[in-house]
Amino acid sequence: MEQTNNSRIWNLIGLGLVIIFFLVAAIPMVWKSFTQSLPTDSKEITIRFAHWQLEGGVRRAFDLAAAEYTKLHPNIRVEQLAIPDKIYVNWLITQLIGGTAPDIVQMGKGMSDERTTRYFLPTSALSTKPNPYNKGTTLENTPLRETFIDDMESVFSTTLLDHYGVPLSAFTLRMYYNLDLLQEITGSTELPATYGQFATLLKQTTEFSQKTKKRLYHIAASGDNAPSLIDKVFRSQTGKLGDGLAYDFLPSTRPPAAHLGMAFANGEWDFNEPSMRAAVTLLRHLGSHLQPGFMQVSRDDAMFNFIQGNALMMPGGSWDYSSISAQADFPVGVGMIPTPLPDEDSRWPFSEGIISDESTNASVVMAVTKESRHSEIAQDFLLFLCSLATNEMWAQESGWLPAVRSAKIGSESQSFMPNLNGFTGGFSPGFSGADTKRVVQTSIGLAVNPNGSVDKFTNHLNSEFRNALASDLERNAIAAKINSQRADTVSLALYVLSQNGDASAADKLAIQLEGMSATDRGYQLGLQAIKLLK
């Protein structure tokens, strides 16, 4: 009896604990949902914005911007939500569908045209007027669109024909150096400026490792950052390949995938092409200095190795700088990713010159959701964020590049400024889509592993590439066809609305007409390329 009473008491205690923990978890959640759905008659307004940039400097920068905004508008509080990028898409879609999305969210992940138009407010109307927060600056009378480094091209949807959101930053790729190690190895902290100097540095690093018996990675690469390195290597050697193709009509630009596909199908180029072989030779040279098995290493692992002082250098984006400089206990140097210059070395006769940063497109796009109860205030905050003064402050605090013209940056960010004094280069083999990328990435070992060779890589790609290319072009053609089909309905709707005096519809239709023909052309081109490949 006593035992039964004892066990009853223990059961009751257990049940009580479960109930208490449940209430502790449930009550705040229910209260939060409840208060958010109440109409607000309080004088204080809270604007929430969400993003996936967890880098410390960025969150601090956003906090500062929010605080500055509150100083100007004391009754408005701005709350930041930093969501891990791995779950951001699922979180955002759930919030949008559930009607609980924040007032402003970062766009770019998981956004289809339908979702964009259904859930977000376009910013085209704002883009034609000056930003009121630029008063007293050189951009005072400049329409918002022209205050950005890319004229808001990065936020213009060519299918929806509207701008969605505003960009806040721009990104470039660089090579990070451990300057202390560099000093130990070479006796100087001067970064290599040419590929020859870079190759010499790699050789010196090998000798240093052997001499000191220290396990040292030359380049801490990973599956995340290596593809951009590989891309640059190929582009540096294939710039002149386009010149010889029958379909080369666009000097110094990237030939469209379909054109390259047709040329491949016609036998005008393959991986035994001298410039391709030169690219693979260069890749092999560079790859022998990347850590073994780098394609299976994650970005965090590579960064860990670099920060721990186990690697001399690491390719990375400007977005990594704030994290690296905060965590590394050595001075960090930043340089361009070197590629061979013409006349520098007879082994690279196909080099055109310095490969520039590919584009000046801005990024970190923030947009106002249609569900926002204070959409005008949210848009006002966006205007504040992308004003010259705030974007400048944000860039300096985060260590990232600004998206607004004339914004000054800190001295440490100067190395990340886009370098346009260079060639755009040629193309990389994974140019057409997921399958060619897959074939290239799974074959990289054939080029860079100790038991690999240029022949193994090129022969393998010659045999596998055709089907992968055809598969990608088919997918691209289907996407072009769907876009073309949707454009039929959209263009008719715009026409009808324009006939009813809607000036903005007339404007959009004029742009749409250019896009429709281009899409049709691209579709026919894709079909032709697929026909030739099969």
């Binding site: 339908e114 098995g293 692992d301 997921a434 399958d435 990435q441 070992g445 997918r475 769907i482």
Partner: protein, 316 residues
């Protein structure tokens, strides 16, 4: 077995069935609805958004030309055979624990077996990923320390494996196509799964002591006891584990995804059907085709389960 009750009597207490409703709703919503949605979408060209086009059986027809998907079954077949062999250490461990004379020690060994279960599987995977690291991983350190690497280098030269093992270079377990499948097999060493061991122990404990006494009288040694007594009597548990293992292996792709990435590693050597399904959906954006692949995988699993049930039936 209790006698059946009449439908009238069963429905008289209909209110009690309402207690099933919440669970039923959750099962319908989170188990059946996604499956039905997958079947529905397998007949569409669907990129995951709102746009979809009905294409009938085109996705299924494409499967027959999909070399990578068909090839992935070869890889998964090798892993299933390897997993079958990996049951052996669990069985041996269960027999060892069962044969311990002290019940106290039996208890503590069971606790020691179960404790690692609190570590999430994902963490274990990350630890193994680190083990496989060519420069910093414990596996390469062990290979060099034990001299196994030197042996492998000689074997490489002798059999002409093409320089997978070289003296001056660390072994790239996840960087060489030929080492991918061996790495996936080595993963989890010493392959003693707590759940399996506990299930086998439960089976072994149902064997009466009189059977062992009879065996001792007949002069049967320890191995003979295992072959003639213990193994036949735990075959039911083995069968259950085999079925679960085969289904789990066929469906699984988490390990391959974490260790090798979405393309199955160098040469796509680690590509398994589940990973290819993920690749087509989230990398190529062919969600409709991925649903068709999933259905195909479901049929294969169903077939294997049917074969298993039919041919591995244990007579009582």
């Amino acid at each position: 077995m209790s006698a059946p009750i009449s439908p009238k009597k069963a429905l008289a207490e209909w209110k009690l069935y309402l207690f099933l409703v919440p669970s039923l709703i959750l099962i319908l919503l989170f188990s059946y609805y996604p499956a039905i949605s997958a079947i529905y979408h397998s007949f569409f060209r669907w990129n995951g958004g709102e746009s979809k086009e009905f294409i009938g059986f085109q996705n299924y027809a494409q499967i027959f030309n999909d070399k990578i998907f068909l090839q992935s079954f070869l890889t998964i077949g090798i892993l299933i055979v390897a997993n079958l062999l990996k049951l052996i250490p669990s069985i041996i461990m269960a027999v060892f624990i069962h044969r311990l004379s002290s019940t106290k020690f039996q208890y503590w060994y069971r606790v020691l077996l179960v404790l690692p279960m609190v570590v999430p599987g994902l963490v274990t995977l990350f630890i193994w990923k680190f083990f496989f690291n060519p420069n910093l991983g414990a596996l390469n350190y062990f290979m060099e320390f034990s001299g196994l690497k030197t042996l492998l280098v000689h074997l490489d030269q002798f059999f002409g494996w093409g320089g997978i093992f070289l003296n001056d270079f660390p072994i790239s377990w996840l960087g060489e196509p030929q080492l991918i499948v061996p790495s996936l097999i080595i993963w989890g060493f010493p392959w003693i799964g707590a759940v399996g061991v506990l299930m086998f122990i439960a089976g072994l404990q149902s064997i009466g002591t009189e059977i062992y006494e009879a065996a001792d009288l007949d002069g049967i040694g320890p191995i003979g006891k295992f072959i003639y007594i213990e193994f036949p009597l735990i075959i039911t548990q083995i069968r259950v584990i085999v079925v679960l293992m085969m289904i789990g292996t066929l469906q699984s792709f988490g390990m391959q995804f974490l260790l090798l990435g979405e393309n199955g590693g160098p040469g796509g050597a680690g590509m398994v059907p589940g990973l290819w399904m993920f690749n087509r959906a989230f990398i190529a954006g062919e969600f409709g085709y991925a649903c068709a692949l999933g259905l195909c995988l479901f049929v294969v699993i169903l077939g294997l389960t049917f074969i298993n049930n039919k041919f591995l039936r244990v007579e009582k």
